[in-house]
Assembly symmetry: C2
Homo-oligomer: 324 residues x 2
């Protein structure tokens, strides 16, 4: 059987995760990693090529997975690449997804490609669970909790505070509130009430720790509305205990099938490595993307648009005999 040939664009944590995830799928193979850095400088056993040469391999790659950031990389690369390749990306700026979808859909339809966007666990699997649970239980409320996990965006914000040498931020959901929702009790949810933020900072030797803590706690949007705890630790402790990228979360819909008759729909993820899991999702969606392309179902797609059996390495009959 010919394997599905995947190109990875970008080689940060997500790109490395995709490289690893591909080794777990017998029907897919890595064609090459594409980087805007000097390809010689990348430490990888895989084939590495320059991003500038990507177009040369147009006919050799089945699906490109875009592993860059959502702020600058994807909004530029997505539309640029969708004309020549099938793509999967993990674009995760929720408020911009509708516009990005429209742009990608236009290009993908015009050039007869499939562009699967906003794939990961949130947006992605969590979106799917929110949507399904609401469709089944129109009377009810849906709650999303994130963590316990390391938030990359909030850690970046911490590191921009003057006097901070190193820092990480963990988002911790309110377990008591989760238990109440699971028990069918009505709660007053807001993102700020439902999560605590715990920060670990390595301060510069001459920095004022009180000033750093105050600056973090009062940062608008990021920290001000939340209960935030700031801990100062040594560089040694930082290197020993805060190098991982665990994450996860919960989606719960608390609904009623009839008055007073409750139904609780709950989805949980607990991930040792956030980027590796996001990578694993993107690889399964690369399989679906390729199959949609073969079926001439062109255009942009989100997790809502794809028959999800296409994610599986099992064929239809196998799914009906062994999984359903």
């Amino acid at each position: 059987m010919t394997k599905i040939k995947i190109g990875i664009v970008g080689y940060g944590n997500l790109g490395r995760g995709i490289e690893t995830a591909l080794t777990n799928s017998s029907d897919m193979e890595l064609f090459a990693i594409f980087t805007r850095r000097d390809p010689q400088t990348l430490v990888s056993d895989s084939r590495v090529e320059s991003y500038d040469d990507l177009i040369k391999f147009k006919n050799e790659i089945d699906v490109l997975i875009l592993a860059g950031g959502s702020q600058k990389d994807i909004p530029q690369q997505g539309p640029e690449l969708a004309a020549n390749f099938n793509t999967v990306d993990c674009f995760d700026t929720h408020s911009a997804i509708a516009d990005y979808f429209a742009e990608m859909n236009h290009i993908a339809l015009k050039y007869k490609h499939v562009s699967t966007i906003a794939i990961g666990w949130d947006p992605g699997l969590f979106s799917l669970q929110r949507m399904i649970s609401e469709a089944i239980l129109p009377i009810g409320n849906t709650y999303t909790f994130w963590g316990k996990g390391l938030s990359q965006g909030h850690s970046d914000a911490v590191r921009r505070v003057p006097g901070v040498k190193n820092g990480v931020q963990y988002t911790i959901p309110d377990q008591a509130m989760i238990s109440e929702i699971k028990a069918g009790i009505a709660v007053e949810y807001s993102s700020a009430k439902a999560h605590q933020r715990v920060v670990y900072v390595v301060a510069e030797p001459d920095a004022d720790q009180n000033e750093i803590a105050a600056q973090i706690k009062n940062m608008p949007d990021y920290f001000a509305p939340y209960q935030t705890e700031v801990n100062f630790i040594s560089q040694a402790e930082f290197l020993q205990n805060h190098q991982g990228m665990p994450h996860g979360g919960t989606v719960i819909r608390q609904g009623e099938t009839s008055p007073e008759t409750k139904a609780i729909f709950e989805f949980n993820l607990k991930l040792d490595s956030n980027p590796q899991y996001t990578a694993a999702i993107s690889v399964a969606f690369a399989r679906a993307t390729y199959r949609l392309f073969k079926a001439e179902q062109y255009g942009a797609k989100t997790i809502f648009d794809i028959p999800l059996g296409l994610l599986s390495n099992r064929d239809s009959e196998d799914l009906l005999n062994n999984i359903i």
Copy 2:
């Protein structure tokens, strides 16, 4: 807006649940309930018609939801009705789904209808979660637990034992094993090890309770491999505490994104009313079935084949702006 017109075939617990669920969806309406009993004898505020007259309403019904049993009703009615109607059913005999799919697909394609089969929570939502979680994490193990909940099949088996006036059976999952799996610990799972069966029996006055308990506990397949507890109660207690039909369960995949790097995917349902929730799922799939029919995507479908955004009463743009 014209509402999607639904016919319900059969008026047991599931049929009544569908009648209720339809009142929660503003874009759908009940056309009529169809019964093989004398329509006059049904206690319902809805329009009731005879099953024998169904064909007369061929052009007035958008989707029929088949609410009969999987043993005799669905295997006969599904193929009979798929020639003239779009259908949704909750056929749940796992081992027969592949054959039933082939039969329904043949008829639905021939007569240009959509037949959505095996919809519910298992098969159905649980199948979806098993499939997705495996596709994302090819290295790992998937576990399904049922309960705590009332098992209709096992309750029926209890009631067939001589001397049993009334009886129910609850399936109770091994919470310790679930906790171990969630903690990433390897377990030795078998359905019998993972579940306990708790039975409540109202015995006939002159019956030998030891004999009844022995007959239940030694019943092959149903009870013999399981740890089974049999409790004798009064008819009064039975009527007070054992009239509900709660159910639920858990699907967990314990996998690795790379060696030693774990990821836990967990899905839980906790339902006060098993038939009402199954009904609510079938109603959401009736919406998707109608949309597939309008898009001329004929044939039989399972939960693996349908772009799940079609379940939602929200349109694409709304989903991208508010749910994703």
